[in-house]
C-alpha cells in the first residue's frame, strides 16, 4: 500500500470534521454524570477486558485441538469436533449463554452436597457462566478457523520434519502450529473483534461489564445519548487496539517473505 501523508487534503478535511463533531458533542451535550460514575465505568471496562481476554485465551487453546481433530484426527474425533463447531456456529450466542446459566445453573443446585463444596461460591456467581459460555463460543468459531489453517500448511514442510525423525508433538509445536497461526492472523483478528462485540450479552445474566454499567447510568439519570456515545467510543478504542496489535504481529511475520 502506498504511504499517504497524514496531511493529504482529504485527510485534513476528515480530521477537521471529526474535531468539530467531538467539540460540539463535548460542549453541547451533558457529560456531568461522568464524574459520579467514573468508578463504575472503569470497573465495567476492566470486566469487559477480563472477559474478552479470558474467553479468547481459553477459547483459542480449545480451538487448537478442535481444528487439529478436524484436519487430521481419526474419524470419530473429527466428527465430534465438527459437530461441536457446527452446534456453536449454528446457534445464537445468547441462547448458548442462557442455556448454560438458566439451564445448567438451575440444575446444579440439586446435585447433593454441591452447596457445601468449594465450587459453590463460584457456581452461584454469574461470571463463571459467562466465561465458560463465551470461551466455548470462541472455541467453536476458532476451531473452524484452525481447521483450515492446519490444512493450509503445505504437506512438504511437515514431511521434511518427519523425514528427519522429528516426533509428531515436536512437529506440531515447532512447525505445524506456528505456521498455521501465522497464516490465519487476519482471520483471528476478525474473530477477536466479534468476540469483543459479543461480550455485552453477558450483561443479560447480570455480569456487570461496561455495557451493563452504561445501561444502569441511563436508567438512573434518564440521559440517553451521551452514555451510549461513550459506550460506542469505548468499544471502538478496544477494537482499534486489537487491530493495532494484530497489525504489529502481521508485520513481523510479513517481514519473512
Amino acid at each position: 500500500m502506498p504511504k499517504v501523508s497524514l496531511f493529504a487534503p482529504h485527510r485534513l478535511v476528515l480530521m477537521a470534521l471529526a474535531l468539530i463533531l467531538c467539540l460540539s458533542a463535548a460542549i453541547n451535550m451533558d457529560w456531568s454524570w461522568m464524574e459520579r460514575y467514573s468508578q463504575d465505568i472503569i470497573g465495567g471496562l476492566w470486566r469487559t477486558l477480563a472477559l474478552l481476554t479470558g474467553t479468547a485465551i481459553i477459547g483459542f487453546l480449545l480451538s487448537i485441538p478442535l481444528g487439529l481433530a478436524q484436519a487430521a484426527g481419526p474419524a470419530p474425533l473429527a466428527w465430534l469436533a465438527r459437530g461441536f463447531c457446527t452446534l456453536i456456529r449454528g446457534t445464537p450466542i445468547l441462547l448458548q449463554l442462557w442455556l448454560l446459566y438458566y439451564g445448567l445453573g438451575s440444575v446444579l443446585p440439586y446435585i447433593p452436597g454441591i452447596r457445601q463444596s468449594w465450587l459453590w461460591p463460584l457456581l452461584s456467581e454469574a461470571w463463571p457462566y459467562a466465561m465458560v459460555s463465551l470461551s466455548l463460543c470462541f472455541a467453536g468459531y476458532g476451531g473452524e478457523v484452525m481447521r483450515g489453517a492446519f490444512k493450509g500448511v503445505p504437506n512438504g514442510e511437515l514431511e521434511a520434519a518427519q523425514a528427519m525423525g522429528m516426533h509428531p508433538f515436536t512437529i506440531l509445536r515447532r512447525i505445524w502450529l506456528p505456521r498455521a497461526i501465522q497464516r490465519v492472523l487476519p482471520t483471528l483478528n476478525g474473530e477477536l473483534i466479534m468476540q469483543l462485540k459479543a461480550t455485552p450479552l453477558a450483561a443479560t445474566i447480570a455480569f456487570i461489564d461496561i455495557y451493563a454499567v452504561i445501561a444502569r447510568i441511563r436508567q438512573e439519570t434518564y440521559i440517553i445519548y451521551e452514555p451510549l456515545l461513550l459506550l460506542a467510543l469505548a468499544y471502538l478504542i478496544m477494537a482499534g487496539l486489537i487491530t493495532l496489535g494484530f497489525r504489529y504481529l502481521e508485520n513481523r511475520t510479513q517481514a519473512r517473505r
Binding site: E157, E159, A160, A161, A163, G165, M166, R179, Q182, R256
Partner: protein, 266 residues
C-alpha cells in the same frame, strides 16, 4: 568412470536393503517388486520417465510411503518391522525405532520444504536441537560451517522466502547434513529450479559424492548422473528395467525402453 574404480570406492556394507518392494495407490500398483541394495559410500542414481515409480521408491526407503508388501526392509543394518492393521494395510510397528533411523538418513526434496517461519540458520539448527538434543551453541557452530560450505553463510539470517530456488535448495542440503546422516536421499532436487540455478545445486551435490557419502538420487539430470553415480538404476513402469554403471546404462543400454528413454532425452 571405469568399472574398476567403482568397486574400489564402495565397501560391501549394505546400508539400505529392500527386497520385493510393492506399493499401490488406490488399487493401482506403482511399484511391482523392487530390489535395491545401497552400499556404504555408494552413489546411486534413479532414473526413469515420469510415473515410473522412482520417487515412490525413494520415499519408501525412509517410510514416507509405507510399502504395500515387502519381503525384506533393512535400514542401516536394522530390520524395520511392518505390521498389517485390521484392513490389511502395512504400518510401521515401532515408530520410535523408525524416528531413530530417520534421524540418521536425510532427505532433500524437490520443493526444498524449508520451514518459512525460521531463518536459514534456524532451519539448519532445528533437527540437531529438537531431535538429537544438541546444545544450541554447538548446533549453531555446525550450521555456520554447513552454510559456509554451501555458500550461504552471509544469508544465515535470511528467511527462506527471501532466497532464490537454488539458494533454498542449497540451504535444504545444509539442513540435511546437519545431523551427520549416514545416507542422503535426494528426490529430484533440481526439478523445481530455473535452468540457470541447477548448476549451483549440482556442484554442491557433486562435492558430497566426492567425499564418499552414500547418496541415492532421483534425478532427470542425466549428465550429472553419468558424472557422479557409481550405479544407475533405470525404472520403468514400477520395475527395475536395467541397472549398471553409468557407462553401461548410457553408452550401451540393452533394455528397449531404456534405449527409447535415452534417445528421447538426447
Amino acid at each position: 568412470m571405469p568399472a574398476t574404480e567403482v568397486t574400489a570406492s564402495t565397501t560391501q556394507t549394505p546400508v539400505i536393503e529392500v527386497r520385493g518392494l510393492r506399493k499401490s495407490f488406490n488399487g493401482i500398483e506403482v511399484l511391482k517388486g523392487i530390489d535395491l541394495t545401497a552400499h556404504k559410500g555408494e552413489v546411486i542414481a534413479l532414473i526413469g520417465g515420469s510415473g515410473s515409480g522412482k520417487s515412490t521408491t525413494l520415499r519408501c526407503l525412509n517410510l514416507l510411503e509405507v510399502p504395500h508388501e515387502v519381503t525384506k526392509l533393512e535400514l542401516l543394518g536394522e530390520p524395520v518391522a511392518l505390521n498389517p492393521d485390521r484392513h490389511g494395510q502395512l504400518s510401521v510397528a515401532d515408530r520410535r525405532h523408525l524416528r531413530g533411523l530417520r534421524s540418521r538418513l536425510a532427505m532433500v526434496f524437490q520443493n526444498f520444504n524449508l520451514w518459512p517461519h525460521m531463518t536459514l540458520e534456524e532451519n539448519v539448527m532445528e533437527v540437531p536441537v529438537q531431535v538429537l538434543g544438541q546444545p544450541r551453541a554447538e548446533a549453531r557452530d555446525t550450521a555456520h560451517r554447513l552454510l559456509e560450505r554451501v555458500g550461504l553463510l552471509d544469508k544465515r539470517e535470511a528467511y527462506p522466502d527471501w532466497l532464490s530456488g537454488g539458494q533454498q535448495q542449497r540451504g535444504a542440503i545444509a539442513r540435511a547434513l546437519a545431523t551427520e546422516p549416514e545416507v542422503l536421499l535426494f528426490d529430484e532436487p533440481t526439478s523445481a529450479l530455473d535452468p540457470e540455478l541447477v548448476g549451483e545445486v549440482l556442484s554442491v551435490m557433486k562435492g558430497l559424492a566426492e567425499e564418499g557419502r552414500t547418496m541415492i538420487i532421483v534425478t532427470h539430470e542425466m549428465q550429472f548422473a553419468a558424472d557422479v553415480a557409481d550405479r544407475v538404476i533405470f525404472l520403468d513402469n514400477g520395475v527395475i528395467a536395467e541397472q549398471g554403471t553409468a557407462q553401461q546404462i548410457f553408452q550401451s543400454p540393452k533394455n528397449e525402453r531404456l534405449q527409447q528413454f535415452i534417445r528421447a532425452i538426447n
